[in-house]
Amino acid sequence: MLLNVENLRVSYGNIKALHGISFTIDAGEIVTIIGANGAGKSTTLRAISRMVPVETGTTMTCMGKDLLQFPADKVVSQLGVTHVPEGRRLFGNLSVMENLQLATFARKDRDNVKKDIRRVFEIFPRLEERKAQASGTMSGGEQQMLAIGRAFMSGRRLMLLDEPSMGLSPLLMMNVFQALKEINKQEGTAILLVEQNARLALKFSQKGYVLETGNLVLEGDSQTLINDPEVKKAYLGG
């Protein structure tokens, strides 16, 4: 088991966002969380990447280590858990290349870095064309590619993806998901995917969870969930 989350509780001030959810991710597995707007999906990812503090009672372990002992940057550099946040959040003033290089800040294996960059360019040839462009001026889809590439560079035991399809054209969306699948297959990277587009997400993943107002209400393998009438009604548009 790669990641084990138990009784995850998070609040923002007076607002309770997560009421104690538990789930697991195995190595190399693709897991999806679906849910309505404001259900707490992003919050879950933020809690794992230690961007928001969790409340007492929460336990999270990654490869047997207590995740809560790691600050946000060490979660990435030492545990290999990377987070592609909602809205991409690239460093717009840095060039494409610099964005990729920065992601290797804490890495010691210089030789592999070069190889990995080449790998990213193979997956997303568009990025190589735009190597020197300031990332802030790229279009939404290009930015999404770079965000994934950046995550790829910083560690790839587990990728936390927050709505990667948002705002992407249909073709590009397929490309992105294909690339993700490829990374998953070739590198054995586990993926925790959060998506509004539930059908796509469930098709893409092996296991799914349904989050409703801070509680996990349903879980199962994705195929089952797709056919679940409740899920169908609520999340797949009838």
């Binding site: 230690r50 940057d73 990435v76 946040p85 800040f105 804490a106």
Partner: protein
Amino acid sequence: MTFNFLMQNLINALQWGSFYALIALGYSMVYSILMLFNFAHGDIFMVGAYIGLGVSLGLLSLFGSGAAAILPGWLLLVLTILISMFLTAFVGIIVERVGYRPLREAPRASAAITGLMIGIILETGNILFLGGQRLKFPQLIESVTYNVGGVYVTNKKIMIVLVSIGLMLALHQLITRTKWGMAMRAMAYDYVVVPLVGVPMNTIAAMTFAIGSALAAAAGILFGLAYPVLDPYMGVSFGWKAFVAAILGGRGSIMGACIAGFMLGFIEIMTVPAIMIINRLFSLNIGSNLRDLIAYSIVLVILIFRPHGLFGQAYSAKLRL
């Protein structure tokens, strides 16, 4: 008169500009990386100068001065600069820890206020501990004046200009070429996600303050050599003017800040001879006292025509509220 006169003023302007440049550099470090007005920077410069004073006095008493000196003056100077830069870096780190880190999420202007307040505390602390009287900075190296065809240049002036240009180039390399520099720029753009790519944000922020403060210390010591009277408020006007230079140079541009620093020094010094020349040419009687008025009108006009500074790119960010 004219050529010598202009050359002389040019050299003066270079030295004066070096201080603005060095201080603006440190200011701009913090400013362009954390996007914070570090209004305490001028006072850190002051603290750096006083630390330099303490260190150099300590060294002098250890190694003797004048005829009894064991080590040559220039070596003491280098030691003083290095030790003081190191010590002042810690002051910077403390300032970051106490005054800025807790405010990282806050509006930038609030951090500006904390900076102002830390500055006041540093000034007052100085008065409390040292009693507020002016102190003399020891002249570690013998001052030598060269007369180059009627233009007077001192060895210190040359040294000051060279050291500041050297530091500026080194810093430019650091920011544009290294991973640290990249991380700093990334932080300027969006500090929230910096940890998400595995970069230790607090370390970067502390480093930034440390480097900025170390530069201020270097500036403080060079300043002490050139203008050997130290007082607790010596950093105030420098602080504000470095603020002007850092932004005039263009947001996020270290080089720009430096050049703007030189330029500001240049404008301030050169308005005096310029007024004089205009007076002669048109037999007017404008006083050199109009210097600030003219100098800052020039700054204002530059900004009206280059609304994003000399080297800055257009941006629409506003105060984080």
